[in-house]
Symmetry: C2
Subunit: 329 residues, 2 copies
């Protein structure tokens, strides 16, 4: 196969539309897809600083790398879930990336602040780990973004992630989620920064090829808690259909955002009020995160310790600063 | 496993909700599902005669059998596509069924009327066989139903068929099809009889168990033209998800009809007019079936020959009558 642009031998290829790319033009293609997502969904302007939520996996490190290559001011935030080897390795890869690029990385550690891993917190709340992790991480990300002045948080969700979520929401007709699922959730007053997904036009296989091309060290294994997650089943089903009918995922996801999502707008959005404990916006008297913390026997207002790996540290990542943040009552 | 009703040893089981049934109570369960679909979607009353479109496969013969068991007046219509052994065997099984039950069966043969199989007609029109077959069969079914005074045609579409169709329509956001897909499409003036799908609450595996229990001889192989049909891919994907999350297909399909389909109602239905050739209702000047016939070099107004296997024939099926029908201009 040859590069569709320069006819050199292809470095990699995409399936829908079928096209080969040499290394140079694949990079160009990839970055253009990121840029198009940012522009099309009005995610942020070139001047706006962005906080990239990085797990150490391929998607989030590719995201951070692409944002920097495109000239955006992007710092990182890593949450260390306290899951043994998986967490240690993931954190180290994020630190390496930050040190190599000379960019700032914020690190929050569950063990450091709560003396508990996410597994233990989930066990105490008797809820599935992925559900607890999602709620608590969202709270932590919002809190740190606010404390450090970020109005936009970017995550590495890709086309496969979003198509799988959409399929799950349609199969059980989750009207609220269908109304809300979007690559750009705008900021809500001062408590919630905007959430954006600049990789939404790129498939997992394309991101993998990008990581290889850019020589990115990422942690290959999935989170040990995510085994058997229903999103895997949806992805598997979609990939099977994509194999038979190339373009299915893209048509499905972008068709939804372009034409169909408006059908699912909720008749009335629930009224938001301030959580009686942490003050964050919520639909209940006490937000879900504070309720989970209480159920786990933790103080929802406990100071959250963040380490910061700053560009001044040089190649060796080390904790040089600790930030405390507490929500106003 | 034991029968959920009488605790006898189970003859078969269903997965969502998980339950075992002895032979007697499985039959009761199955017929109740058919009856519920008929009632819930207001398909037809016990007095109304119904024309069952039968291919000779498990679904349509189970449908015909269940309708007769429930006391409905159901006669059959079989369309012989002229596909060699597949068509011969299918037709014979339909004839056997009709003769055993002493019920009337109408048979239309492509070779007899057109001297061409559906494959040859499709080849001449340069369209996929399944698409041509769908259009022409619909025309034939409507025509015979009208000629014989039937206002309702029942087909054997089951839960798997409908869930797969829904998934396909959602993946490519076929708004018109999403608005129309329903187990009961009401009759439209005198040209179109109502189309109903009484097996829509039953899964393929349940229908298979019913056929075994009722000792129904059906043709096991699929239509030779349907190989690689996208509906198979959707069914496969849905069955994979059902395996991991039992109840997925049912929740998906009935959730759609109960709450969500209204979101897809078309802003304006296209205006229907009479086909300039056959007089049937259509959105174009000449209906698609007449256009296909012309493209295949056939006269759209050719008299359609039907054989009738009547209860008077006894055990041996034989052609005893020929009906001609021609659409008014």
């Amino acid at each position: 196969m040859r590069c569709v642009k320069c006819k050199k031998e292809a470095y990699t290829s995409i399936k829908a539309p079928k096209a080969g790319f040499c290394a140079e033009h694949f990079l160009e293609y990839f970055l253009r897809q990121v840029e198009r997502a940012i522009t099309k969904f009005k995610m942020f302007s070139p001047q706006e600083p962005v906080l990239a939520a990085v797990s150490g996996g391929k998607d989030s490190l590719a995201l951070w790398d692409a944002l920097l290559l495109l000239g955006y001011k992007a710092e990182g935030l890593h949450i260390d879930l306290g899951l043994g080897k998986y967490s240690q390795a993931s954190k180290q890869l994020c630190c390496q990336f930050a040190a190599n690029r000379g960019v700032k990385l914020y690190i929050f550690s569950f063990l450091q602040t709560y003396s508990l891993s996410i597994t233990e917190i989930a066990r105490r709340t008797r809820r599935p780990p992925c559900s607890v992790c999602g709620v608590v991480k969202r709270h932590l990300i919002n809190t740190l973004a606010r404390q450090t002045g970020y109005r936009t948080v970017a995550t590495g969700h890709n086309l496969d992630d979003e198509a799988a979520t959409l399929m799950g929401n349609l199969l059980s007709w989750q009207e609220g989620y269908l109304a809300r699922q979007h690559p750009h959730l705008p900021a809500k007053d001062s408590s919630f920064p905007a959430r954006v997904k600049p990789l939404v036009r790129l498939e997992e296989s394309e991101i993998r090829a990008y990581c290889q091309l850019r020589n990115l060290n990422f942690y290959e294994n999935r989170c040990p808690l995510a085994k058997g997650a229903s999103s895997s089943a949806y992805k598997h089903a979609l990939n099977m259909l994509e194999e038979e009918m190339p373009g299915t995922k893209r048509r499905f996801l972008f068709g939804f955002w372009e034409k169909e999502q408006k059908r699912f707008s909720l008749p009335a959005w629930p009224e938001l009020k301030n959580c009686q404990i942490c003050g964050n916006l919520t639909t209940a008297d006490v937000c879900l995160c504070c309720r989970l913390m209480q159920k786990a026997g933790l103080d929802p207002l406990m100071p959250l310790q963040f380490e910061i790996v700053s560009p001044a540290d040089g190649a060796q990542p080390q904790a040089v600063q600790t930030a405390y943040c507490q929500e106003p009552r």
